[in-house]
Symmetry: C2
Subunit: 694 residues, 2 copies
């Protein structure tokens, strides 16, 4: 708990106690026949003053709570979100799926501008990652047989804890109910003691670690009931989040809709390694749909049942995680939030990536390289670097096998949202599939010349052991063979010096005596031509929908109309992301201008620039506002048959330009070869602006 | 049956009869004590001669069967396919999914080159259709609630007939078993009478129309058993081809993985129409995964359980299906296969599209426009126009509501494959969803000024009818209201002249007498301000995987290596489709050349050109062959530090070019701005070729 909040809770409790005491005094005076009226009045005034002070203390505490929660007050955050979401839904960036059938929670459609933004983001992802690093892109099905997801652990562990309304059967996520309860208490209940507040904050901090039993106990302790009906709740139990189905007509082959795209890459490792000329490192990538049957989805585009993932699996030699291009990103500086700072209650600080790696804060260069590339990717898309941080996983968040893990978190009206996970998953996934499938998913390092290595060789004499231990022979043989090098060498020495040794066999729970004849132990020299090992995998995994939603929020602003009678919405998308690159407006209804607009449209199509023509008779100001609202960077107004104006969305500046040049200038700006500032200088600015209210 | 085949079957049967008769003669002579040896010898010689003739007749029939089946003999088609598929799988264009777990039938992964081809095809599709026509692209989820697919008819009708092995439970598609049986008989059984052959051919022709009972009867009649075990088969029954799942944790919301992407567009019609300014026509488009739980998938990439569809729904006023851009495609000439030609047993003929529309062979201009655009799309991708035809659906293939339907069929080693369907689906889909959801999915045509229209108004008098018909009143009311305009006007006239009229009520199977008091019939004048109607939809639907597979076959060829000791595989992909646009080879292992290669690679990346560097020490000829095999159009060989050679894949010609210019020239050719022929003239050809065997 922040120190100031705790002090404020104590101060409020003290003021409240003073108010109570003074109220008691007033009551006593009023009921006393001896009290003078003046004395009573003075006491009442004092009570009023104390109440005012207590009120002020309560407001200070409220302010502290909401600023601790997220910087802005939760009311203004929600108002902002509502403005963004209204615009997004009204302009069909996205819409609840199957709306005419009253929709399905957690499923959304991207409408035309949203779909264009998404396809721009994916095209840039391909350019920035796949093409730049020569990654091997693959495309695997969503339908996945059970055995693959058993190997990966999803069948057993991809669950959330669920509780049911005991009467209606409605399902809830157990941790959400507990989280909502704690947050609500902390934000709204100002009478909460600072001890109780501490306890609730602790619950929030350890929420993800609670077992079903612990969660159930907390729900009971706090008397939490079903939010919709106030009915009692069942005990929490695990619900698997995969959509299950059946492959083929027999009903005997269970399958699931994949919960991530990564497994498709892992099971192909052997072929991909061969395709790469049996060389490490290399990366494979996949863009595709993934599915999670959320118990009760909320938070709009942030928690959905079907979503697009873009995942990279970069395979490296575990002994060498350096990266040849790390130098390209080493000097980047951005907000990082290492484990230590989180545990110390500090906040994210700007750090130079190269230092974070050299100090060992980031585990290795390859992990660091991807953190840097992800930073570039997100900020080039238009994510505000002040609201982007890389947060290291705490030990309790990380899988036991992971070497290190960082999330790119983006701040939006819902708080800090995990949008990209960048994890060093070590050899876990390849090992799991090797074991389950029996196909070794390994790499080979050929030595320039054979190396001589010493290897321990243990050869139990089955005959002697059979004579000595009869039915237990097999267990003794296995125990001998399973000895570590240290144990074996100790036994060798003991047998050589004493001729026999006591040996404990766990599997039969007995200690037996082993003699020299029973086993031969030796260190033998062998020539090895290669090293065989399971590669480590470093996995940057992008939640495309989440990135896009945060981008919507970071790009949105409002500005007054020229007449200052309304607020106009604008998305400041960079051209790279903008759903449509430019619009063409004939200034007034006229065949001549319409013809020019068509000529320009044709040249834009030929140049591959997406555009729309708006020939409605609406005022030019309204038409500008309409395309600002879907983030179109440039607007071409046809006001003559020889030249036209181009208007920049954010600065509202206009230049005049010949019809022949329009497409190439628009391409220059929207391809990112030039900025608006660059082209501004080359052309006359249009002095009589087509104003926003024309 | 082709006339020649029938004649050959008869000829063979006659020869066989002669052989049998002569054999009988020989037997008789041999057993006769009177026969001279010379006589016997002559008869044996005659028998031998007849056998030779019968053999020749059998071979002629075999040849006729295989040429009727597909032009090339089925053996050579299979050998060709094997060569293509081997190359595709070896170079990871695609691979069976989950191979290390022994795979799942009907699921395939695209490996790196296949994935790149696919993403190129989709990018071109977006450019050629969405951008060119300003279509509204949407992106809807695969998980679909049951109600949507009930409305569309998929829950009830999206089935195939299945039979089960009665002992093992193995499942088969009933029509496949019957088809295989008929084809096998026709191809292999030369003793088949021409009547029987006709019957089997008829079965093949009507296969898609057979009911479960008819299919079952045929299977029994022909004694068809389970192909793997020869066990008896169950009767055929329908199996729904959708993958079923459950949405949310309750188990009470059934859902399916969508079998097509179109429904996502239909349910959004209202919003999309509004987005388009409430104007028709407009088109919406969607690219995405679709799923069909095939009973027993075969034919590699052609029949799979998960695939990418690209679908367009073009909404038009049913009264005006003209298209403003039809002139752009009207002069195209290509193979069309109208219904009449199919029924007359003719084959596809080249037709000019404009004529096909003006003669009414193609139903309307909009349908024709899309047929033309699809033709351009496929041939620009590299589909051979000689092996592409547009086949009109026969009446029995077409849904009852469809106005017209044409399939783009591409010929490959599996025969003619439906790759794109272009259907005028009339108002069916929008009406179905309007009814089920209660949300009217309609368009409005505002009249410039209100129109006066006459409308028939029928008002039955429930009171009088109740008195007269008691319990049958409701049926009579309904029958009166359901009268057509003609019937109603006739009744009006009769009632006015005679006061009563006989009226047959189907629902109660009686004729009753209707009097003047019982019903009022009038034509009323009404002012209408707009026309409200359900738009027609014209749907071009692309099976992307099938197009890509056919493209692989059409692009594949082999040529001898320079030493003529082996056949080398080449894919002649146009640059648009090629998975990688160029390769960079340092001629020999050298730091200098490697550095130049890196500089060139960097400039290619900056220009956005996908490429690979191959610095293995292999001979340059081997390296050329390796990239020809994945269809890379250009190869850059670094043989100096100032200039390099560029080699064209198909002509094997080489030009010499300065290092600075490489990226821009490669871009020019791979973007399609210039052809190889164009740039050949601008640069010196490289006289000392890096030969294929260097």
């Amino acid at each position: 708990m922040a120190a100031s909040e705790e002090n404020l809770r104590r101060a409020l409790a003290e003021k409240q106690a003073s108010v109570d005491a003074q109220a008691e005094t007033v009551r006593a005076l009023k009921s006393s026949p001896d009290a003078h009226q003046a004395e009573v009045d003075a006491a009442v005034e004092a009570l009023k003053a104390l109440k005012v002070e207590a009120g002020a203390a309560a407001r200070r505490l409220e302010a502290a709570i909401s600023s601790n929660t997220d910087g802005a007050s939760s009311g203004s955050r929600e108002a902002f979100r509502q403005a963004v979401v209204n615009t997004l839904e009204r302009r069909l960036f996205y819409i609840p799926s199957f709306k005419i059938y009253r929709g399905v929670a957690g499923l959304y459609d991207y409408g035309p501008p949203g779909c264009a933004v998404k396809s721009n983001v994916l095209a840039f992802w391909r350019q920035h990652f796949v093409l730049e690093e020569n990654m091997l892109e693959v495309d695997c099905p969503c339908v996945t047989p059970e055995i693959v997801l058993k190997a990966s652990g999803h069948v057993e562990k991809f669950t959330d804890l669920m509780v049911k309304d005991e009467k209606t059967g409605m399902c809830y996520r157990a941790d959400h109910l507990l989280k909502d309860f704690c947050k609500e208490k902390l934000e709204k209940d100002l009478t909460l003691s600072s001890e109780k507040a501490s306890e609730l904050k602790h619950v929030l901090a350890v929420l993800d670690d609670l077992s079903a039993e612990e969660l159930g106990a907390k729900l009971k302790e706090y008397g939490i009931t079903a939010p919709d009906t106030k009915n009692l709740l069942s005990d929490p139990y695990p619900f698997n989040l995969m959509f299950q189905t059946s492959i083929g007509p027999s009903g005997l082959s269970p399958g699931y809709m994949r919960p991530e795209t990564a497994q498709g890459i892992f099971v192909n490792f052997k072929d991909l390694y061969y395709y790469n000329g049996n060389k490490l490192p290399f990366a494979a990538a996949q863009i595709g749909q993934a599915f999670r049957n959320e118990i009760s989805p909320r938070q709009g585009l942030l928690r959905v049942r079907e979503f697009t993932l873009a995942e990279i699996e970069h395979f490296v030699d575990p002994n060498d995680k350096s990266h040849p291009k790390f130098g390209d990103v080493a000097e980047l500086e951005f907000f990082m939030f290492p484990r230590e700072e989180q545990l110390a209650g500090k906040s994210a600080q700007p750090m130079v990536l190269g230092e974070a790696v050299s100090k060992g804060i980031v585990n290795n260069e390859t992990l660091g390289y991807f953190i840097g590339r992800v930073y570039l990717f997100l900020t080039l898309l238009g994510i505000d670097k002040e609201r982007l941080r890389f947060r290291q996983h705490l030990p309790n968040e990380m899988a036991h096998y992971a070497a290190d893990c960082w999330d790119a978190e983006i701040e939006c009206s819902y708080g800090w949202i995990e949008c990209v996970g960048i994890a060093d998953r070590s050899a876990y996934d390849l090992r799991a599939h090797s074991e389950k499938s029996g196909v070794p998913l390994v790499a080979h390092e050929k030595f320039p010349e054979p190396r001589e290595v010493e290897k321990l060789v243990i050869v139990p004499s089955k005959k002697e052991l059979g004579l000595a231990f009869k039915g237990n022979q097999k267990m003794v043989v296995e125990a001998l063979e399973a000895m570590s090098e240290e144990e074996a060498l100790e036994m060798k020495a003991t047998l050589e010096s004493k001729g026999e040794m006591d040996f404990h066999i766990c599997t039969i729970g007995k200690t037996v005596s082993i003699t020299k004849k029973m086993v031969s132990i030796s260190m033998e020299k062998k020539k090895e031509h290669q090293r065989v090992f399971t590669p480590s995998v470093i996995e940057p995994s992008f939640g495309i929908g989440r990135i896009i939603y945060c981008l919507f929020e970071h790009s949105f602003y409002t500005r007054p109309s020229k007449a200052e009678d309304e607020q106009l919405n604008v998305f400041r998308f960079p051209p790279l992301v903008a759903p449509i690159k430019c619009t063409v407006f004939p200034l007034i209804k006229s065949q001549k201008f319409d013809d020019v607009a068509k000529i320009i449209a044709k040249s834009l199509t030929a140049t591959g620039i997406s555009h729309i023509i708006d020939i409605t008779g609406t005022s030019i100001g309204k038409r500008y506002a309409r395309t600002d609202e879907i983030g179109v960077p440039l607007a071409i107004t046809v006001d003559s048959t020889t030249s036209v104006t181009i208007r920049d969305r954010d600065s509202k500046q206009q230049i005049r330009i010949g019809i022949d040049e329009v497409a190439s200038v628009v391409k220059e700006v929207t391809d990112g070869e030039s900025t608006w500032g660059d082209v501004m200088w080359r052309y006359p600015t249009h002095s009589v602006l087509h104003t926003e209210d024309e």
